[in-house]
Structure formats: C-alpha cells, structure tokens
C-alpha cells in the first residue's frame, strides 16, 4: 500500500507495530499463546480437578496489543468455593507463586506474579503476568466480579471485573486508536499507565462529535487536544468497579506528562511529521520503494544534490 496521507501512514503503523487481523499469526503471539498453554499445564498438573481457569487478560484480550509485546497478562481465577489452591487470597497468591517458581524465574508484584524467564534457559517472547483471584459469585459466567490480592496498599484485596474491563475496551470501537496511542506512549516515553490511557481515549472519543473512528489522524488529534487543553477536567472510572480509586495512577504527574507530550504531538502532526511521534514504518513493497526513490530524485533541489566520484 503506497502511503499518500497521514491515515495511510497510521494504517501502516497499525499493520507493522501492533497486533492486527493481518498479523495475528506473528511469531511473538504464537510463542506467548504457547507459553500460556505451558502455564496452564503446570497449574492443572499441580492442582488436578481444581476449578482454576486461566484467562487471557490485558491487551491481548482487549485487542490492543502492540509489537513487540511487552508482556502477556493472564488471570488465574478460582471459583468462589474452591480451596484446593488456597483458602485465602493471600494463600492462592503465594501458592501460585511457589508453583510457578519451580519452572520460571518469578517476581512478586502488587497484584501479579511475573514470570520473567524459564529456568531451563529456553527463551520467552515476553514476560507473563499471572494475576491470581477468586470469583465473588458462585456463577462466574453470570457475574464475573472477583477479588484479587494486593501485596501493598491500604486494602489487601481489590474488587474488579476482568470481563467488564475487557469488554469496555474491546467493544468500544476505538481499539485501533488505543493501539496507535500505545505506540505513541512507547515511542515518546509518555508517563501514563496503559489502563488509564485506554479509559481516557474511550471517554474522550465517546463524547467527541463528528469524529469517525476510521479517521485515525482526526481521532488522535482529538485525543491530544483533550490532553493538552482539558486534562484536568477529564475523569475516569474503572469499568470493573466504579468504586476503585484511580487517583493513584491518574495523578498530577501523569496529567502533566500527557499534556506536555500531547502538545508536542500536535505540533508534529500539524507539520505532517507523524513519524517523529510514532516512528518509521518499513517499506516492503518493491513498487513503493521505486516510487519513493523517484520522488526523492525529482524533489531534491539542485543545490542539495551531490554526485559520486571515484579517484582512480
């Protein structure tokens, strides 16, 4: 596809830097999915017959994964009355940690056990975050709310709803914009949690008028304008639990970072320098390469031209 407009360029960014329908079979993704199967096997072997489900969570489940993936999120939830894995949330967390530590080099984080690498030396495409939890309701298919353990903070447990969080993002209609914004975040070291960025984008674009979700450039500009002009007035809530306080991850420093980077992004977009904010895309098509070579030839002014010379 020849790149003629900013949307063409953004489409190329989506195809090359994010997981899309055209590259679902990307090697990274296959490896991560295979690794999930290994984790599942380990847990099923350790806790045979336990009602322990391993769900895809995070960007993979929400269809907002970028390439290369930074990590894979898995939710390891037990049914309400299941005790084989542990009686309390803390027990479940610790037991899963200990089980996985036999095969992986692991790290404890606030709500997850991070699998950094395999102990047998086999490489992993990315780290895997396993979030242990317990469903609140007996019928988790009807009501997917759950408690997850927190190693730090005022409360040791957090109520959330993974399915609601995933659906809120996946079904918003703005996953492509979220993916582009994640590329922007990574390229420019924007200091904001991905979860917060997703919620902000959905909030802003849902309230925006006359912006089509297929017009990526216009959507990004709308988001950046909102960050630049109105970040203080935008509020977000956790779709998994409206009572969860997000002020800790959507604080003044995050707002300042969004405002500043958005301002720069708008300046670059105004002068058509999208690649300085989202990076370059590879030209793979031979015809496109030829077209680029020819366009450079005709557009380079004579004063800027140089001719090679060999001193033989």
């Amino acid at each position: 596809m020849a790149i003629q407009t900013p949307n063409d360029y953004l489409q190329a960014v989506l195809e090359q830097k994010t997981v899309s329908s055209s590259n679902q079979t990307n090697d990274y993704i296959k490896e991560l999915v295979d690794e999930r199967e290994k984790v599942k096997t380990i847990l099923e072997t350790k806790y045979p017959g336990a009602s322990l489900a391993l769900h895809f969570a995070g960007s993979y489940a929400k269809n907002t994964m970028t390439l290369p993936p930074s990590d894979l999120d898995l939710a390891a939830y037990v049914q309400r009355d299941e005790t084989a894995v542990g009686d309390t949330l803390e027990d479940i967390y610790q037991n899963l940690h200990d089980t996985l530590a036999e095969t992986y080099n692991v790290e404890k984080h606030r709500s997850c056990v991070r699998l950094l690498s395999r102990k047998d030396g086999e490489e992993m495409a990315a780290s895997i975050d396993v979030v242990p939890g317990r469903y609140i309701n007996e019928d988790s298919k009807q009501d997917s709310q759950c408690f997850i353990y927190q190693t730090e903070g005022e409360k040791c447990r957090l109520k959330t709803d993974l399915r609601a969080q995933v659906r809120h993002v996946r079904d918003s209609g703005f996953t492509n914009i979220i993916k582009l914004a994640k590329v922007w975040k990574k390229q420019n070291n924007v200091s904001v949690r991905t979860f917060v960025l997703e919620l902000l984008i959905i909030k802003i674009l849902s309230n925006a008028e006359d912006v089509k979700s297929s017009d990526y450039a216009a959507c990004l500009r709308t988001v950046w304008n909102a960050f630049k002009e109105d970040i203080e007035n935008i509020s977000i809530e956790d779709p998994g639990n409206a009572n969860n306080d997000l002020s800790g991850i959507f604080d003044a420093s995050t707002k300042a970072s969004l405002k500043s980077h958005a301002s720069t992004a708008l300046t670059c977009a105004d002068i058509d320098m999208w690649s300085s904010i989202l990076g370059t895309v590879e030209v793979k098509d031979k015809a496109e390469k030829r077209a680029i070579l020819e366009s450079i030839r005709v557009s380079t002014p004579q004063v800027a031209q140089s001719r090679p010379w060999a001193r033989i």
Binding site: V281, S306, P308, I312
Partner: protein, 249 residues
C-alpha cells in the same frame, strides 16, 4: 586527538540522537568511529539500510570523514564509486564548499552527502542510473567539474585556472586562463576570485597536481604574464614615436 576526544564524543552523542540513532559511537585507536545501520527514511518510511562506518577526524569537518560501506552490499568497483577498501567516493573534494560549507556538523554531513550517496546507490540498484548524475572517474571527473564551473572546455585552460586557484596571490594583470590573451582584470577575474574564496586551496591543489602530473606542461599557457606589452602608467608616452613630426627640425 586524545585531549579533545571526550568533548567530541559528548557533543556527537547528543547530536546523533535524532538523526541516525542506530549508529554506535565508539573510540578506537584514539579515533572516533560511527558504526552501524545507516537508514534511508523519507516521510517516515524506511526504505533501505546500509551498514556503514564513519571515521570522524574533526567535528568541524575541516577533514572530511572517511565513510565506508561495511556490509558488502555495494560491489567494490569504481563504477559504483567505491574503492577496493570499501571507502565511499561521496563527492569530488573540490565541491566541499557547496556540500559541507563552514558550520556543517556531523549530523548535517550524514543527512547531506552521506545520505545522498547511499540513496544514489539504492537508486542505481533499482534503476541502473545515477539519480543526480555522476562525475567521471579520476581526472576526467575533475575536468568535468571545473569545466562546468568555469565554462571552459579546453583542458589547458582548466589547468591554468587551477594554477591560479592554488597560487598564493593572483595579480589582476596576469593573462586570463581562458586563453583570450587579455588580462584577468578585463576578462574572467570575477569567477576566479569567487572560486578562490569558496574552494579550499588544499582540495584545488590536489586536483591541480593530479592534472599537472598527467598532462605535458605547455609553458606558454602557464605563463602568467600578459602577451600584450606592459604599459607603464607612470611614464610619459614617447612622443617621438607617437608623433614623429616632433622629430623634424
């Protein structure tokens, strides 16, 4: 180089961040070397890459960096304007005034002549021709360049022009290099003066020596004195010769 090396490294590291961030900056044998993938990018589209090495001899480019293609992609063939050792013939040194004027930084150099060179190589690979043309090899390229610059086509005129270009001083009464027989001041002095102020003497000297060594020297062409009699402005004209009537008694 040693004493200034740290300063050069610090300056260059900062400058390279936006231009070619994948080039690694290393210090080898007291010299500064940039090495790595050189990406050709246009409007955010990365369309080609060459593995290169750049030996930086001075930050202010009074010595042009030596650029090598180390990926082995370009055949080592003078027709591809690359030497046997992989060093790239970016441009005729005499053109430095235009392509690397004073104030040019290393990133400018990379974004200018180096970028042009490797873009031209990519274009040649695809299309079989050079996008901006090419200088012929060696001496012929030198002659082509000065011919375009001066409008002269005669080799000896160009040789004389070069001799004036590299002379420590030029006298306006010298015969013009074009071979007209008139003095410089009444002929092509302006072009010469302009070139003397733009083309680096040492680059012109190299070309002059190259040309001189391959051509028989014709003394009369290199003779700087005008072929017309020199007029002494301070003396009175010889009236007897001019007005013979004054000799009659």
């Amino acid at each position: 180089m040693g004493a200034n090396l740290e300063h050069m490294v610090a300056t260059l590291e900062q400058e390279l961040i936006t231009g070619q961030p994948d080039l690694a900056l290393v210090v080898e044998n007291d010299s500064l070397v940039l090495r790595g993938p050189f990406k050709l990018i246009k409007d955010g589209r990365h369309f080609d890459t060459y593995e290169i090495e750049v030996l930086v001899r001075a930050l202010d480019l009074h010595q042009i960096p030596v650029v090598k293609e180390i990926g082995g992609r370009i055949p080592k063939n003078p027709d591809r304007h690359i030497n046997d050792d992989g060093t790239a013939c970016l441009f005729l040194p005499d053109e430095r005034f235009r392509l690397c004027p004073p104030g040019t930084t290393i990133p400018d150099f990379l974004a200018g002549p180096v970028w042009n060179y490797f873009y031209s190589q990519s274009y040649f690979e695809e299309c079989g021709t050079w996008p901006f043309g090419e200088h012929r090899h060696g001496l012929e390229g030198v002659l082509d360049f000065y011919s375009e610059l001066t409008g002269m086509t005669e080799t000896l005129s160009i040789l004389k022009f070069l001799s004036y270009l590299v002379a420590k001083k030029v006298k306006p009464h010298w015969s013009c290099y074009c071979g007209s027989g008139t003095q410089l001041t009444a002929c092509h002095l302006e072009i010469l003066t302009h070139c003397r102020s733009t083309i680096l003497r040492r680059d012109a000297l190299q070309s002059y020596q190259l040309l001189k060594s391959t051509l028989p020297i014709h003394r009369n062409w290199l003779e700087k004195k005008s072929t017309k009699p020199k007029r002494n402005k301070n003396s009175f004209p010889d009236l007897a010769k001019t007005f013979p009537i004054f000799l009659k008694k």
